[in-house]
């Protein structure tokens, strides 16, 4: 237990920049940590407000009975995504593997310390999703101290089972990929397959025949209970005050976690050993070598960087994958059905006018540049001693981001234009607006990573997911997309001017930012 405490403490200190904040003498470093904390705080606040709004909305519609199932499911989905993205890098392939495994600590203690850090992050997500709803539910259905206790415990237990399910999926994918020579590519393909499976399943769940919102809520809760049995257990425990069902829920959550720890501790060393064993041919013979310009050389290097890391690629291209899936689904969906469904709720039917911002929403979620400087890590001396202008490096990094963004935006634009058949001018903005946002996101991400780089990461995950530039880029992108998306969706007469304005704003912003960083780093990356 002592070793678990020590390992967990170190794990916690290495996450979220706690230790840098506590001990760094560099003021800039401490300021970055405070900024990072502020970004997390804002995200937490926004999530909580959103959750309160949903809980309040359910109460207004008399649907509080459904809250336990729906919020538990929402928490489970969040947990599955967070854990899936984190497992590879926290449990496997970590840089300190050799050092930690040489210490006199048990594998279960090590695993538990790593999983606890993931659990705490998931607990925050579960608290955002569940606490406001549970308070609303508790006020509507007074169950006494026992009821409140059940709800409190359920919040703490909610992340466990989905965390285990996601970690199992991630472990299986990694184990399967180890059998291939190109294991990174195999990991990426299998992970994308898993994401598509989850997206496909959720689309199937939404395909319900219901006539009003309350009926949709009921049907959704029934489907959730069917798909995710713990939701049914908690729903029964709270709605009918059944301690037996609650006990089942507790046993299922704790039992699955214990079993996972036990099984993983048996194969942990084997998987990691395989991960760190590299294929060495030792049979290379010199061949004719071509030449490339410095820009092309850096672009190729950056592209290989992206393709070499499943963490980097999956976290930065998930937006493009979802966009393509969404646009393909629209391509094969009958327009009349959609109009009928949306019209039934009095929603403005000129949905096509919002499409430029719907595509742009996926652009701002997919930024490779916001981690591209940090990911240079300890090898950054190679770039810093290279006799090339910083502008060349910037163009190469932006180019890689656009290589992912522009084709997916183009494909989505074509498919959605086929589905919605917009007028020519609106159709033109199906492409112009996402392209402008793609440039804006790529340049903003790069600018922020140049300003707040984090080179001392222990796992790529810290640079790709926890970096301040990553969160700030996505946050700023959302602020640039969501207001015009809402306006064009609700007020069709304003759609075109708003679209033109924000397209110009995004394009102009990208140009301005690029000029600023090019001038600031005119001859040297050191500033």
């Amino acid at each position: 237990m002592n070793s678990y405490k020590v390992l967990f403490k170190v794990q916690l200190l290495s996450s979220f920049g706690f230790n840098r904040f506590l001990h760094s003498r560099d003021k800039k470093d401490r300021r970055n940590c405070i900024l990072m904390g502020a970004v997390y705080g804002i995200l937490f606040l926004m999530g909580t407000l959103y959750s309160i709004a949903i809980a309040y909305g359910c109460r207004q519609m008399g649907m509080t009975d459904l809250l336990p199932s729906l919020t538990l499911m929402a928490s489970a989905v969040l947990t599955i995504i967070v854990t899936f993205m984190k497992t590879n890098g926290i449990l496997f392939g970590m840089k300190d593997y050799d050092m930690v495994m040489s210490l006199p600590v048990s594998v279960p203690a090590l695993l538990l310390s790593r999983l606890t850090a993931v659990y705490l992050m998931n607990l925050a997500a579960a608290a955002i999703a569940m606490v406001p709803s549970m308070i609303v539910y508790g006020l509507e259905h007074p169950g006494g101290p026992g009821g409140w206790f059940t709800m409190l415990v359920s919040v703490f237990l909610a992340p466990l089972l989905p965390m285990v399910l996601s970690a199992v999926a991630s472990t299986l994918i990694l184990s399967a990929a180890l059998r291939f020579k190109y294991r990174n590519l195999a990991t990426i393909l299998l992970s994308v397959g898993a994401i598509l499976l989850v997206v496909g399943a959720s689309f199937r769940m939404q395909n319900m025949n219901a006539e009003d919102l309350a009926a949709i809520g009921q049907a959704a809760a029934q489907q959730v209970n069917a798909v995710y049995p713990p939701a049914a257990l908690l729903s029964e425990a709270l709605n009918h005050g059944s301690m037996l069902y609650f006990l089942y829920f507790v046993l299922l959550s704790l039992g699955s976690t214990g079993l996972f720890l036990l099984l993983l501790s048996l194969s942990f060393a084997k998987i990691n050993t395989a991960l760190f064993s590299h294929h060495t041919g030792g049979t290379y013979k010199m061949q004719h070598l071509g030449t490339a310009s410095p820009l092309a050389a850096i672009y190729k290097k950056e592209f290989r960087r992206l393709m070499s890391s499943s963490i980097y690629l999956l976290n930065t291209s998930v937006g493009e994958i979802l966009l393509i899936v969404l646009s393909v689904l629209f391509l094969f969906t009958d327009k009349g059905q959609l109009q009928e469904l949306l019209g039934g709720y009095g929603i403005i039917l000129e949905f096509s006018r919002s499409i430029p911002f719907v595509i742009s929403l996926f652009m701002v979620m997919s930024c490779t540049t916001c981690a591209s400087i940090s990911l240079e890590g300890k090898a950054r001396w190679c770039l810093f001693t290279a006799p090339v202008a910083p502008g060349t490096i910037f163009l190469a990094k932006i180019g890689v981001n656009l290589t992912l963004m522009l084709p997916s935006a183009g494909i989505a634009g074509i498919f959605l234009a086929i589905h919605f058949r917009p007028d020519p001018l609106t159709g033109l903005f199906f492409f112009l607006t996402p392209f402008a946002y793609a440039f804006f996101t790529a340049v903003l991400g790069l600018a922020l990573d140049l300003k707040y780089p984090r080179y001392d990461w222990a796992t790529e995950y810290h640079a790709v997911k926890q970096g301040l530039p990553v969160l700030a880029t996505i946050g700023a992108g959302m602020l640039m997309v969501l207001p015009p998306l809402a306006v064009t969706f609700l007020i069709s007469s304003w759609a075109l001017p708003v679209t033109v304005c924000f397209t110009l704003l995004a394009g102009g912003g990208a140009w301005y930012l690029y000029r600023r960083i090019s001038c600031f780093f005119s001859s040297n990356l050191l500033q």
Partner: protein, 246 residues
Amino acid sequence: MQRQTTKKDILVIRNFSKSYQKGKKAVNDLSLSVQAGDIYGFIGHNGAGKTTTIRAVAGILEFREGEILICGHSIQKEPILCKSEIAYIPDNPDLYEYLTGIQYLTYIGDIFQVSAAQKEARIRKYSDLLELTEHLGDLISSYSHGMKQKLAIISALIHDPRLLILDEPFVGLDPQASYHLKSIMKELCDKGSAIFFSTHVLEVAEKLCNKIAIIKNGRLIASGPTEEVRGSSSLEEVFLEVAKDE
């Protein structure tokens, strides 16, 4: 301030100082010059300021006090021009582990805009010499420390640098590779280039270098031709003596 450099000056460091937190000077008013053909050893205890100086010369450490000229050009004002003349190998060569050895060397060759023929010839020559050729198709992540060191050495020689800057180059190299590196260093200097390197291995510095500088607590306490610095004693004795005196 004197701004003249002689024709043969490859590296000139004038009054270079670098402060870190709370005004503590890592390097204080350091001046030295390295001429064509020099193998210049830079020695000092841990934390003396060797790596700080070397990183500033390589253009990867920003500084405000003093001046560093490479082939007559300021590393601060004309960094790209200066960097095209130098090659730097850090003490622990962290390379792009996701590339294969040959991909990395091709990348460096392209960055320095070396022609295909020259790139191929130099890679062939040095990778054969350091016995790395057959591993060039493997990912760098699969390399041992010594193999990474060899790859970094080959990459530093691809563009035939005027100034080779090395930070502890012999750490991790096997005896055979150390021997070849010393030969390469001598060959480069015979062609008119210069080498500026830090080391803890005083025997190597004594045998290999024609000039030596000793740094302690950020200050240069002895510099000049090896024979003059050493006098009648061994370099080890001189080093221990000056370290004790200061």
